[in-house]
Symmetry: C2
Subunit: 321 residues, 2 copies
């Protein structure tokens, strides 16, 4: 058995999988919004222990009966250390995530980039299996991108895939990264929340989003809250998602114009939660911007769903064996 942890800006998803990538147990925790890296690591440990319990993993002399635990993390990863993990609390410097978790869990821990891990999982096990080139778009707190070109991950000089920071409006909206006009400034959940909060609090725009957030005892507008607001035909939620879809369409089409990949896989918290109807809307929003518009790439929702990141993280342990 292998453990996998997907560390997201909103939630921590852990899973225990077997040799055939079947999920034997899973658990989820909210990502701490305050504190620092060690608080995040503590929540990750709890999530993994909960998943292990669901999978009936035994602990013998403080060591679990796992081959190891893989982690998909945002930020720059080097030898198990994670630096500049945006969207995580107070994580600008470097933190030894692998060794901290190894001490806590009592087994080997391998850390990789969250987006590349999820892209590889979709390529090897999910919606990307039929293709040799694809773009993974992970639409959540931020918008991450992963590339498979000619059957292999393309990571450039180590920093490729930042599709969230493709410019879709020169001098446009301020992004959480500090720049202007990035796709993520319109489509990232953190930006979308700031946008509706501004319109609600400063411009008196009506919305049920924050009421729903409180009712469900969340500190943030999660994907589930957005989905509920859409189901209620909340006008501000609909308009904000329309704006996000337009930005995603332009940004993804731009990348397709340059790379001409066979397929686009839409994952991430919002991508999975909003599912096929929104993948279709993104496909339609791409169309007017595609240069080779007679043969658009195939667009799929990530087939491994919400657990794709954790399953992909577990793959890291095997790749590292």
């Amino acid at each position: 058995m292998y453990g996998g942890i997907d560390l997201g800006g909103t939630k921590i998803q852990a899973a225990i999988v077997d040799d055939e990538h079947s999920v034997l147990g899973a658990a989820r925790r909210a990502t701490p919004t305050t504190g620092g890296p060690s608080d995040v690591a503590a929540e990750m440990e709890i999530a993994l222990r909960d998943a292990a319990k669901a999978a009936a993993v035994q602990w013998v002399d403080g060591n679990p009966t796992l081959e190891g635990v893989g982690v998909g993390s945002p930020g720059t990863i080097e030898a198990g250390n994670v630096t500049s993990a945006r969207n995580l609390p107070d994580w600008e410097g470097s933190f030894p995530l692998a060794s901290t978790l190894e001490r806590g869990l009592g087994c080997r821990v391998v850390v990789g980039n969250d987006v590349q891990v999820a892209t590889d999982a979709e390529f090897k096990l999910g919606a990307g299996r039929p293709y040799s080139s694809l773009l993974g778009v992970f639409w959540g707190t931020g918008v991450g991108g992963g590339l498979i070109l000619d059957g292999k991950p393309w990571t450039g000089r180590g920093g490729a895939g930042e599709i969230g920071h493709v410019v879709v409006v020169l001098d446009g909206a301020r992004c959480t990264c500090g720049r202007r006009g990035c796709m993520e400034a319109y489509a990232g959940r953190a930006s979308m929340e700031a946008h509706v909060r501004h319109l609600h609090e400063e411009r008196d725009r009506k919305t049920d989003l924050f009421k729903l957030m409180k009712q469900h005892d969340h500190a943030r507008l999660t994907s589930g809250i957005w989905a509920r607001a859409l189901a209620r035909a909340d006008k501000l939620a609909i308009q904000t998602l329309d704006r996000a879809v337009a930005a995603l369409g332009a940004g993804i089409a731009s990348v397709v114009n340059v790379l001409d990949v066979e397929a686009v896989i839409i994952g991430g918290g919002l991508g999975i939660r909003l599912g096929h109807p929104y993948a279709e809307r993104i496909t339609e929003a791409m169309q007017p911007h595609l240069f080779a518009d007679s043969r658009p790439p195939r667009v799929h929702v990530a087939a491994l769903g919400d657990l794709g990141g954790a399953i992909g993280a577990a793959l890291l342990v095997r790749a590292d064996a």
Copy 2:
């Protein structure tokens, strides 16, 4: 000896090179603005014959003492046929360019994509030699892009590299391709000419651009005319180029954010003519949009200059041998 012809939207550049890629003779013709593909082919033949004359190539029984002639052409290339060559007169359908030129010139002709040919030439012989990954940006009538990833051309499903049609302003200016907000709608010479013509004729904006065009007996605002207007501090020319540089900065940085290549090579008629000062301006315009802004890619002007496309086209004959 090898012949090479670079078929551009504004000019046809021919060259004769030896085994070491030294240019033995070169000639240039204006690309016809009216007529059709066969008129363009006729001008290409004249350009190649002029270059051959300068290189003292002999014709024996109607066949030149050349290993062959390579052609870099816009449009979709299949088995020597060229389809949908934008920026060329009346060339929406398919035209048998290779066989037409073979009949006219009396030697073997190999046709490839103009931008990929020029990118390969810079990678193998020019400014791209130190790198294993690069983005070629050919700034001329349109804006084309070529990719080298992991030491090899990346062409996707055959249509990669359309960096001119990366969206930099959602719902922005109308592009010559019919779409909105493309980088080329701001930075392509054809779009720039339409933009200043509109402001000059409809909005009474003063400029010497069209006067210079007539003085130099051109039918279009060539790169040389733009350079002359800049040298005179023509306000409208300066503003239009500022707008082009801003679009190039955002569009190129977007692609770098996704691919994280080592280097960007700026070529094309305008890129070469405006040279290093403008490559530096583009570098500065990229900087605020780069996600990994502490390690931007190197930016170079195409080292093979104006003849790069023709030299690269000649390489096709050797690759094909």
